[in-house]
Assembly symmetry: C2
Homo-oligomer: 326 residues x 2
């Protein structure tokens, strides 16, 4: 059986030699990686763990697990307004499964190349399957997207669609039936969520606050409200739904309540939710009109300290709150 060191060499270190990355003074293979941050920029750091049986099915395709793990972490950089630089990987697995590692590293490096982020270090240990990725990025101090900058009167927007993450889980678990094209779309949204890095480059120059939607729009917007000491109202009828999710509405209007719950509380969307002062709206609208950015106004920041929802002018009771691990 190959040793830990050979495994690392074989599957992870090779990529480093083939694709040398900017700012990496010393990569995998010493006690630490040595990294050079671009002058004048701050380091943005985020860490996330995916556990088999909790965050993905134990028998899921390792290529897809790798993609999902790295993409969800990249989403945190986008939500901060940071550009990706490097990441580390702590991989725990029951035994050194070469086939699994081959698939995992293929997915990992395909995604890393796509988003210009380099693996600079890691650890492989024996134990129940789990993946911890820490991403590092560079942030211009004046353009970081914090949670604490929202003001009363700001618009609340989300990128692309909300509700796909929860709908995807329902599709994978076969709780709802979707047409093939919609099921394929949702499967891709679940395993290969697109970190909104391109959108972030525009948003970070305009928005007053932002985060990415991992726990569900309502719960995540509450984080902004708490950090900014404001309230918010979400206009439920304005939530942008993908054609896949809309297709359920076309099947039966009885699905509406479930769909709103997915969109408000489902989580795993990895879209950006951000707030925008009204005077910045024309500039953002121009970017949307130019096709540079997909975003929809879904509410506004109010006085108070809580998120409420309205459907066609009536108070809409918030379905159960976002995903909680414990």
């Amino acid at each position: 059986m190959p040793s830990e060191f050979q495994l690392i060499q074989q599957f992870f270190q090779r990529e480093q030699a083939e694709n040398p990355a900017a700012g990496v003074v010393l990569g995998i293979g010493d006690d630490c990686a040595l990294l050079q941050i671009p002058a004048g920029q701050q380091l943005a750091v985020s860490v996330d763990t995916l556990v088999a049986g909790v965050h993905f099915p134990k028998d899921a395709d390792p290529e897809l697990i790798a993609e999902r793990a790295l993409r969800t972490n990249l989403s945190d950089l986008a939500a901060m307004g940071a550009d990706p630089l490097w990441f580390t990987l702590a991989l725990t697995m029951p035994q050194a499964d070469e086939d699994w590692l081959r698939g995992f590293s293929r997915g990992l490096f395909r995604c890393a190349r796509e988003y210009g982020i380099a693996l600079v270090g890691g650890d492989t240990t024996s134990g129940p399957l789990a993946i911890t990725i820490q991403v590092m990025g560079a942030c211009q101090p004046q353009h970081s997207l914090r949670r604490d900058g929202a003001n009363v009167g700001d618009f609340v927007l989300v990128t692309h669609f909300v509700g796909d993450g929860a709908a995807a889980l329902a599709a994978i678990q076969q709780e709802y039936s979707f047409a093939d094209e919609h099921r394929a779309y949702l499967h891709d949204r679940f395993y290969r969520p697109v970190p909104r890095l391109q959108e972030s480059q525009f948003i970070r120059e305009l928005a007053s606050s932002a985060l990415d939607i991992s726990d569900g729009l309502a719960a995540d917007l509450q984080h902004i409200c708490t950090a900014s000491d404001v309230g918010a109202v979400i206009y439920v009828e304005d939530l942008p739904l993908s054609p896949a999710v809309q297709s359920l509405l076309e099947q039966s209007s009885a699905n509406q309540q479930q769909i709103y719950q997915w969109a408000l509380s489902g989580g795993d969307d990895y879209e950006l939710c951000f707030t925008l002062a009204p005077e910045k709206m024309p500039e953002l609208a121009m970017l949307i009109a130019q096709g540079k950015l997909s975003a929809t106004v879904v509410g506004e920041i109010t006085a108070g300290n809580a998120v409420s929802c309205e459907l066609n002018g009536e108070l809409f009771a918030l379905p159960k709150r976002g995903y909680q691990h414990f």
Copy 2:
């Protein structure tokens, strides 16, 4: 049951408010931490996972697990010649056990304060108990301690004692019997290994290469040899042994072979192994004489590419190689 967010708040975020740390623009609670590296310095990064049942007993005291996890990571910064700045914590646990978290966070922050390193982010997930810590430090570019700088004729040195890590495991597992004072010493060496950060501050200005001994002196010195394209010889009779380990020799000379195996291949020592050009030896000897540093010459760098061992001038067959996870 408290939610994930309350748990984080309660056990980890509070410390941040009470002990604000240098360079932390934004700590726990946003999508990313935002960090400012000291001007002119490089970022040193290392990540390690400890899995229950693999790296520590499942029922071990959470305070001690936290100490061990952070200390072994700090050892990597020492081995790189870096000064500690920040760390992230990814904690996976079967359920939100408040007692366990209270003990764990107490040990973690006691250790963090002792070594001047600040928690800046993390993730808590549900799953089998495992702890992934990523440490970040600052490295002066001209004083980083890489593995690839050893030259033929350099001395090989280790700090303090080798063999304690393996002896501690033998004591914990009751394979050998130790006097109470020695057992207490070894227990402390296992759970609270001292990251050699003070020693590193002297060594980084003198040494040609360095690493920390986690896999066993022979296997780790081989990493230096491979990276530097040299060989090495270890003089087994010169290995510095703690009084606890020496006490076994006094019990029976039949223990000698086991002791040499611990010292050469036992691992978990977290001492620094470093190489030194002969002309730097007087300066190092002066530091040792002044009591600023404990280090012992245990061998020298040779031509070739492999580590060999000699006991009183005779070739000494290397016992089985360092700890391997798989």
